[in-house]
Symmetry: C2
Subunit: 255 residues, 2 copies
C-alpha cells in the first residue's frame, strides 16, 4: 500500500500572480501534493486582517504542473480560512506562505500578510512557515534561496513544529545565503513615515514611505544583524501575544 503524500497548502500576500508564490509551489511539489489558494490581488501589509462583513469569492484557476490553483477575493487570513472550509478535504500537513517579495524581518512580522497567513495556520494547529526575500521587485531572483527553502520544508514535514509556534523565514537579496541563523526579531520601528500632499480640493493627504530604524544594529541575536551579513534568518513566532511573564507586574499595577 502506498503511503499518502503530505498535503501542503500555500498562500501569500502578493497575490496569485506573484513569482514568489509560483516558485514556492514548485519547490514544495517535491515534498507532497500542493494546493495554492492565494489572494486575487496584492494584500501587502494586511497583517492578520480578515473580512468580517463581505463576500469572499473562490475562483478556480488552471492547474500548474499538478498544483491545484485557486484565488480568493480577500486577505491572506481569509485565504487560509476559506481553503479549510471550501477547498481542502482534509487538514493539510503543512501551510506555507510566500515567498514574499520584500522583508518581513524585525517589527514587520506584525504588519505582514505573509505572516498573518502563517500565524492563522498555526492557530488552527497546522505547522506553518512564512518565507520572504528582501527584494520587492516583481522579477526578484528566488533561485539562490531555493535549496534553503526546500531544506526547511523537509525538516518541518519530518519533525513538525512546537505547539503554537510558526516560523518567520527571511532571506537576503541578490546573493546565495551564507547559511541560516535561528534568532529573534530585532527591535526597531519606522521613521519619516509619510509623504505630504494636498488634494485639488485643498485637503491634506499622506502616502506611506519611511525608513526602518534598527534599535540594535550590532546585536547578533537578531534577524536584521544576520540578514545584513547575507545569512537567511528563522524567527520562531507565537501568535498568542499574551506577555505571560508580565501578568504579575500588571496585577500590581491594576489591583
Amino acid at each position: 500500500m502506498l503511503m499518502d503524500r503530505p498535503l501542503i497548502f500555500i498562500t501569500n500576500d502578493d497575490g496569485i500572480n506573484a513569482a514568489g508564490l509560483h516558485k514556492l509551489a514548485k519547490i514544495a511539489s517535491g515534498f507532497g501534493d500542493v494546493v495554492v489558494g492565494a489572494p486575487d490581488a496584492p494584500q501587502s501589509g494586511k497583517s492578520s486582517a480578515l473580512t468580517v462583513n463581505g463576500a469572499l469569492e473562490l475562483i478556480a484557476h488552471p492547474s500548474e504542473d499538478g498544483v491545484r490553483m485557486f484565488s480568493i477575493t480577500g486577505t491572506p487570513v481569509d485565504c487560509v480560512k476559506v481553503a479549510m472550509h471550501a477547498i481542502l478535504d482534509r487538514k493539510p500537513d503543512l501551510i506555507l506562505s510566500g515567498i514574499n517579495h520584500g522583508s518581513n524581518a524585525a517589527v514587520n512580522n506584525i504588519y505582514s500578510g505573509t505572516m498573518g497567513a502563517a500565524m492563522e495556520g498555526c492557530i488552527i494547529g497546522i505547522p506553518s512557515v512564512g518565507f520572504s526575500l528582501l527584494d520587492h521587485s516583481p522579477e526578484a531572483d528566488f533561485e539562490p534561496l531555493a535549496p534553503f527553502v526546500a531544506d526547511i520544508i523537509r525538516r518541518v514535514l519530518a519533525e513538525g513544529l512546537p505547539k503554537d509556534i510558526c516560523l518567520n523565514v527571511n532571506f537576503p537579496a541578490g546573493c546565495t545565503p551564507e547559511g541560516v541563523k535561528v534568532v529573534r526579531a530585532a527591535r526597531g520601528h519606522w521613521t519619516e513615515e509619510y509623504g505630504d500632499y494636498t488634494s485639488p480640493h485643498g485637503r491634506p493627504f499622506y502616502w506611506l514611505t519611511g525608513k526602518f530604524h534598527n534599535d540594535e544594529p550590532g546585536n547578533p541575536d537578531t534577524d536584521e544583524y544576520w540578514l545584513a551579513r547575507n545569512y537567511g534568518t528563522v524567527v520562531p513566532i507565537r501568535p498568542d501575544q499574551t506577555a505571560a511573564d508580565q501578568i504579575e507586574a500588571i496585577k500590581s499595577l491594576i489591583d
Copy 2:
C-alpha cells in the same frame, strides 16, 4: 506655573461615529487633553493592517466638549501613524483604543483593529491600552464600565506600563463588572466559519460567521473564564511575537 496636562490620543476600529469612541473620549477628558483620530468608516477585523500604497486623507471634525476630533481614511494603525505625523505636536503620554463594540478576548486579539492600534502605540514607545465591551450593538451601554475604564487610565498615566507591553482590556455585557482580573488570553479558535452561497453567475462565495471555541473553559488563568463570570479582564500584550523560549528548540530542528 501650571503643569502640562497629559496628552491622550484616542482611536478605535468602529470608526469616528461609534458610541464607544465618544464615551472613551469623555472618560479620558477627566485626565488630560484628548485628541481623537479615528477611522472614517468601520475597520473591524483589520488587525495591524496598514495602507501600504494609497492616499490617507485627514479630515477635521468639530470639537466636542474640548476634544479635538479628526477622521482618517484608513485602518486603526494608519490612524496612529498619521496622528503622530500630522495631528499631534508632541508624543502623547497615553494612547487609548476603543471602547470596541464586541469582544477582543482570547485569540481575537490578533484580528482586532482596536488592539492593532494599541500595539502600534506600544511599538512607538507610548503606554497604550485597548478597551472592548462584549456587546456588538451600536447602542451598547458603556456606563457600567466607565469607573473601571477611568481607574485603568488613572493608574497607567501615573505609573506607565512595562517596556514593550500594552493592555487588552475586555468587559462583560449587560452588567456592572464584579471587578477586574489580570489574566492571559484563553486558547481557542473559530469553528463553522462561513455561510455558503452561489452568485447569480454560478460562482461560490462565502460570508464569515462562526462560533468561538474555547479550548479551556474551566481555566481561571484565562480571560474567557472571568468574562463569563461578569468580571472585566486585563491581558498584558507583547506586540513582538518572537517566541524567545523556542529559539533553542528551533535551532535543533534547523541546524
